[in-house]
Every structure is written in structure tokens, then in C-alpha cells.
Symmetry: C2
Subunit: 363 residues, 2 copies
Amino acid sequence: MEEKMAVKKVTLFTEKPLELILGGQLSSIEVAYQTYGKLNAEKTNAILICHALTGDAEPYFIASEQSGWWQNFMGTGLALDTSRYFFICSNVLGGCKGTTGPASINPNTSRVYGSQFPNVIIQDMIKVQKALLDYLQIPHLYAVIGGSFGGMQATQWAIDYPDFVNRVVNLCSSLQFSAEAIGFNHVMRQAIISDPNFHGGDYYDKTPPLQGLAIARMLGMLTYRTDKQLTKAFGRAIKTDNHFLGDYFQVESYLSYQGRKFLERFDANSYLHLLRALDLYDPAINYANIDTALSRIKARYTLVAVTSDQLFKLADLHKSKQLLIENGVDLHYHEFHSDYGHDAFLVDYDFFEPRIRAGLEED
Amino acid sequence: MEEKMAVKKVTLFTEKPLELILGGQLSSIEVAYQTYGKLNAEKTNAILICHALTGDAEPYFIASEQSGWWQNFMGTGLALDTSRYFFICSNVLGGCKGTTGPASINPNTSRVYGSQFPNVIIQDMIKVQKALLDYLQIPHLYAVIGGSFGGMQATQWAIDYPDFVNRVVNLCSSLQFSAEAIGFNHVMRQAIISDPNFHGGDYYDKTPPLQGLAIARMLGMLTYRTDKQLTKAFGRAIKTDNHFLGDYFQVESYLSYQGRKFLERFDANSYLHLLRALDLYDPAINYANIDTALSRIKARYTLVAVTSDQLFKLADLHKSKQLLIENGVDLHYHEFHSDYGHDAFLVDYDFFEPRIRAGLEED
């Protein structure tokens, strides 16, 4: 009865609530997910894909006009080979793409969560993903792969469930978010919270804080790209129909467009919560310290850094590399330059293809 | 009768208005300025200091509790030696530190300019500075020095008045603002313009757009510093009294404080206009092309780059260096690393001291 390629949904934690790391609990968590390819008889070819901050459960669309966020990376014979592996991708807890988040109805009150949505972190998201895999009767992951926020999730999988995961492929993310990156997230959050339409997070029966969210997205875009790419794409070209303090240069018009486009697909409260989960990511939560946490990892761990990444800076990637090595992780590290900066993991298939392939296939 | 060290003021363009490059005119322009040291009998020791975006006419305070923005760089025996040179510094046209800007009263209407303030660019600011020097009967500048936005002004001085200027010292700025940097300015402008208290720029009888201006300032601060400096200063330390979506990490509290502090000293409309003047800076305005403009420079030109500068990136400084050399400018180029990034020119005296001294004294 399943509609082909429509996002699948399941309600988990119906009998026992999920106890959240920072306190509170969530019950009857709806999870949106998608699967690709076929699970083999031995159930040894399952790969979990973890999406980045504003991603969703559908990295790929087969025979559809739609384009997923990893559309060019997946398919028969591609780096994420749907003819060989069984891929599972789910929307994260706290998101707004089908999985329970601030815009969902609280089953206990029958009202939208809004400001009452509890604080969730990556470790909570992993637990929901694990519950989904249990529901799907997947006893083991051949690999977990993700970029940015998704790379943090992939790392935590190998820490929290070391015997469950053979391989981790972490693209463009470090083991902790930097002070500067927290600062950018702070500015984005303040833009949303300061929007008079935010109403403390309870805006679902009103106009949402669209201007704040658009400003946040524009800033995010700047940290995901590089000056080199923006210079190549727009340089200092001026719009024909320009406004002196508004969209005057083409690069401004591009950013404004990206800001507006984002409003159609994202909820401000989800954005606030996921940004904070990014800030708060710390592999050591629940363990004595970072070394104790990282030394649990048994998976073959591939880490790919982009030297021009402005969000996860190279110095942080180097620090992560060092920590992983010091804690005995079987690390396979690659770095390269891309004009796309942080966004390279969504765009630069030619570079990532052999690295992902090696991460999934080489010994 | 002049009060010691209070900012001086003069009204210029009282007989003939200033015709602005982008159209329109301004008359009876009030100019706030300060001078330091003594002009020698031959009038050969005058140095014009051009301030950066949010600076003012007082880089230095003598025998005062106050601290100017170049307090540590100026004084007897220091890089900017007040016992040898006669320094002049004025607040830029469009600013809010005593020189005519959007918050000033339009003498033609007796009402505050607000949204009616015309669009001003660096070339206009230079003309006001030149009128001030004429008023002060200074026939020649030994040097013009400035960092960032002030460096752009210094450059334009040597182009527009090649026989008037012996030396240029340009710290941490390139010949043009990059696409990415325009993008950051765009986000800052949108934060201000989207603030419901902005009222299209006519907010002087109401509450000003303080939240938008604070957000803009916080973002500015991030581009002026580096992750390394923020990591050293704050790392991932959490505030004792924290708010989950507000000031949670110490770096957030620092940024929020910087945002609030800025509100006491800056006007949103001035900020918008000066940001745009930064974006629009182009040495070639009024000349056939950039080569024609740069080849007019007769001054000994010192350019100092900070390799970690996130606002004026090294690639742009290198491009500027190349253009200056190609056009026969007597260029003296230095580059170095500072954890302070762009803000180094306001902070890192130990590095800048010998470079500024060389720029002012060496042949």
C-alpha cells in the first residue's frame, strides 16, 4: 500500500518515552524516513545516511522531477550505490521534515509544541535513529555516512554503538563546533528571536518570524561557501534593477533569494533547536572524557576535510584528526581544496566519489 | 576659548554645496575633527588619519580617562609620533560622530535627514577632508594613514590628489571589497532594515532599530576577529547563568555585549550608509579604469596585510598588491599573521609599529 517514493512514517516510543539527555522526555515520536536499494539476506549491507542541518529523509529521488540533497551522489554505480547497499535516511528529531519537532502536535496536550519543545541534542537523535533501525529489523550497519551535522551523528553512532557500526564516513565536520561557529549560530538565532513575529516560539497560529529566518539563512549561506566561489559567480556585478540599501549587487540578490526560498521549506523553531544541537555536540557526553568516548570507536573511520571550509575550519579538522589517531581509531584522512568550501560535500561529487568509495569499500 | 581636547567643529560648503558623485548635493556640512602635535613652520609634517567604519575623529586622548581607537599607537615616541608630526583626523561624511550624516538636521528643511540623506561614497568623504585641510590652511600632506575603510580613503587621497600626498599607509584593506564581504554587509543591512523600528530610516522621534543594529554589530565583530582568537578567549565555555536559545556559551554573551555596547555609540542610518560606501569603493570612479586611477599615485605606498583577515582576505590583498605594482606605484608590502585577524590594525601595536614607522620614515 506504500506510495512509491513518498516519505515513509512510523511512530516510535509509543510504549516507553525517550528520556532526553538534557532532561525531559518525548513519547510517540513520529519518524520520517526513506530507504533505497535492497537489504540482503544476511542483512550486512545497510548504510545509514545522516543529513545535515537543513536536510531531510530523502537525499535521492528515483524517477521523479524532484532532486534530493545528494541526488548526484546516489544511484546505480555511483559512490552511494543503490544496487549494492540498502540505504536508510531519516529526518532528525527536532526537525521539520516529518519527524517530531517543535511544529508537531504534542500528543499529551494535542497542541503544537512550539516553545514547549524540549532541548534535544545529537545523542538523542541517534537514539531515535537506533529505534528506527530496530523497527526495521536491521541488526547491524555496514556504515554510517554524513556531512557536517550529519558527520557528527555518524561519529556518535560509532561511539554509542561501537559493535553496531563497521564504518564511519564523516565529511566536512569536526568533533566539536568552534567558538566562532557558535558565534555565527548565535547571530542567526538572535535574528530569529528578535523578529517580533517569533512570539517566544509560539507563532504557529500567526505569521511566522520569516524575516529573521531569512536573515539567518543568508548568513548561513555565507559560512557554507567561500569568497572565491562568490567572486566567480557574482563578483562585484550590480543588479540592473537595484535598490541602494537593499539588493544592489548581484551577490545580495542571490542571498536574498536564498533567504526567501528557505522560508518555504523550514521552520524557525526547528532551525533554532538544530543550530543549538550543532553547538552542543560533544562526543564526550555520557562518557568520562573525550578520550574515553573516542577510544570506544571500532569502526573504520574516514574523515574528509575541505581546506577552504569556513564553518568547520581546517585547524579544527586537524585537531579532530589528531584526537582520533591518539585514541587508536582506524582513521583514513583526506583533505582537499574546493571553491565551494563547506558546501563541497553536497556539490563536488568528482572529488568525494573516490573518497566515499574508499571509505565504504577499502580495508 | 577652545576646550582642551573636545572634538573641534567647523561648517564647510556654506557658500557652494558639495556635489555628490552619485547625485544630489549637501551644503553647510559640519565636520568634527581633532588635531594632535604642532604643524611646523614649513607645513611639511601634516598627517591625515582616516578612521575605519565605526571610528571617529579622536583616535587619541591626551591626559584623559577616555581611550581613543588608536590610543596605543599615538603619542610621543610612538609609531604615530605626536612630537614630530601634526595629525588631523575627522569624522567621515555620513557618520554620526559630529560630521554631517543621516542623524543631522538638514539646513534646507530644518528637519533631520533620516531617509532623505543622500548616498555618499568614499570619493565624497575625501572631498570633505580636503575642504577641512583647506580651511586649516594645510597645503600638503606628509602622509595619509588608515586601516580598513580608512585605508581605502588613504588610497583615494593619493589618486585624487597625487601632488598633495607624499606617503600612503594602508593597513588591512584592499582596493575593492569582495563579493563575500558585500554579502556580510548585506546581511547586516537586512537585519537593520527588517527591524520594525527602522521605519524606512525615519526613526529619530521614535525608538531606533536597536535589535537590528545589535545583530549587525555582532556579525561585524565575527568578521573582524578569527576563530583562533575567539577559541583562546572563550573556547566552548558555557555561561553560569545561561539561556538555552539565548546567551548559553560565553562567546555568545561576549557578542551580545558587543552588540548592546554599540547601540550607545552608533546610528543605524550611518551604519547603513557607511557599509554601502565600503561595498561601493572603487578607485576607478571618475577615471577611465583602475589602471588609469592607480597610475596617478605618486606617493610612497605602504600596504600591510594580515594573513588571517576574514574581511579583507589575503587573496584580495595580493590582487591589490599586484595591481599597484603593475601601475608603477612605489609599493612597500608587508604581511603577517595575527590571531586578531582584521582587527589587528587596532590592537597589535608590536607588529604594526615598525611597519608604520617605515611607511612614514624610510625612503
